[in-house]
């Protein structure tokens, strides 16, 4: 868990770093790195691994606690909630619809692509 690809994460300028921290943890829940009721990395481990300020990590974790994705066991650390995966998927589907798709349509309008054009492109990509 402590080795490998995680080291390659770079933080971009699009979002506050603490939101990106939350996103990394969410990704790891979605891809099964952390399972239900498993403990996630400690703040110190996270801070060292990704080279970011511990306060930023705490903020990112706090975000997920508020959303019910993580919960705290006193004196032990942070754990993944039972329905965490479902919650994350619901939230992200919502964002997929509201943000990604509306941005996609915005660009499609500029390029004068019809809805049918777009659907055909998606089908083509799915085949590849």
């Amino acid at each position: 868990m402590l080795s490998g690809e995680a080291m390659n994460v770079t933080f971009d300028d699009k979002q506050p770093i603490f939101q990106q921290v939350a996103h990394i943890i969410e990704d790891d829940i979605l891809n099964g790195t952390y399972r239900e009721d498993e403990q996630i990395l400690s703040v110190a481990q996270f801070s060292q691994l990704f080279q970011i300020n511990p306060a930023t990590v705490v903020k990112g974790i706090g975000l997920l606690v508020n959303e019910g994705i993580l919960y705290k066991k006193r004196g032990l650390g942070m754990y993944v909630s039972t329905d965490a995966k479902q919650k994350i998927q619901n939230q992200r589907r919502d964002r997929f619809y509201k943000e990604l798709l509306s941005n996609l349509l915005c660009e499609a309008d500029k390029l004068e692509l019809t809805t049918e054009d777009i659907i055909n492109m998606i089908k083509q990509l799915r085949k590849e």
Partner: protein
């Protein structure tokens, strides 16, 4: 949150020029700060005054609410200078021994580990070290002293990218286990973003800005589009810098944007991009006067 260090209206003049002008600064417990400014902005002067190396013309410094007397050193404090000339002909290990005597929380195990991590020969003379290796001596002292208040003046000067990454990593790991107040002055602005929690930006002896880094990054944008559209979008917003090209215009702004702003931007066909801290810094300094 309690205040560790508080500077109140510090002034320092060299001849007719102000090195510091009415400078106020407050550092809280257990926060890593970045101190940014161009060469000659007054960063080193400020740090030297806090460290008691030079005296301010007026103004005062308080450590945990207690006023510092003239030439008095803050307690449990470590100042890592930009250079180690004050160690004269000493060897690396002698410099560390000297520092260990001054700092009650000094950790020798950690110091030796850092010597190894950075590949430093403890028996080498400091005078003979390259610029980068000299910086490493300061870094080891700053970290191993574990002082409640640690000021680093340009700690990564002359270090290559691998050594800088090692430094940030060691700093963050040790800080996570031993929280304390750390301030780093640096020119490598974008590198400080993940490391520090807050920044102070200085120019011409004064403080231009003090902000949490994530707040700052969430308010620093580059706006691009048709001149009229950009002008109407930026109206009433804090504009740091503008540039025109043909019928188009770029504007760097410092303003939190809400959903309505974004909707307006879409209607006006304006693109909004985040500014890196470094870009923000240069627009701020250039537009600041």
């Amino acid at each position: 949150m309690s205040i560790v260090l508080s500077c109140d209206k510090l002034n320092k003049k060299y001849g007719p020029t102000y090195a510091l002008r009415d400078l106020d600064m407050q550092l809280e417990d257990n926060v890593i700060y970045g101190l940014l400014g161009r060469n000659g902005a007054g960063k080193t002067t400020l740090l030297n005054i806090i460290a008691g190396g030079i005296l301010a013309d007026d103004g005062s410094i308080e450590i945990r609410g207690k006023k510092l007397g003239k030439g008095e050193l803050p307690e449990d404090f470590c100042f890592v200078r930009e250079n180690n000339k004050h160690f004269g002909g000493a060897r690396v290990i002698e410099a560390l021994q000297l520092a260990a005597n001054f700092h009650s929380h000094w950790d020798w195990t950690f110091a030796h580990k850092l010597l190894q991590t950075f590949g430093l020969d403890p028996n080498q003379k400091i005078k003979q070290l390259s610029r980068g290796t000299e910086s490493l001596v300061g870094i080891i002292i700053g970290l191993a002293s574990r002082a409640a208040l640690t000021l680093f003046d340009e700690p990564v000067l002359g270090l290559d990218v691998l050594m800088r990454e090692k430094f940030y990593k060691e700093l963050l790991e040790d800080y996570a286990n031993h929280p304390r107040t750390i301030l780093l002055s640096t020119h490598l602005i974008d590198e400080i973003v993940p490391v520090a929690e807050r920044v102070y930006i200085m120019d011409q002896g004064s403080l231009l800005l003090h902000e949490e880094i994530h707040q700052l990054r969430m308010a620093a944008y580059l706006i691009r589009g048709n001149s009229d559209a950009v002008a109407s979008f930026t109206e009433g917003k804090r504009v740091l810098h503008t540039e025109s090209y043909g019928h188009g215009k770029l504007a760097a702004i410092y303003e939190m944007l809400n959903d309505r702003d974004r909707q307006q931007a879409r209607q006006l066909d304006i693109t909004i991009e985040h500014l890196t801290l470094q870009k923000f810094f240069s627009y701020l300094i250039e537009g600041g006067h």
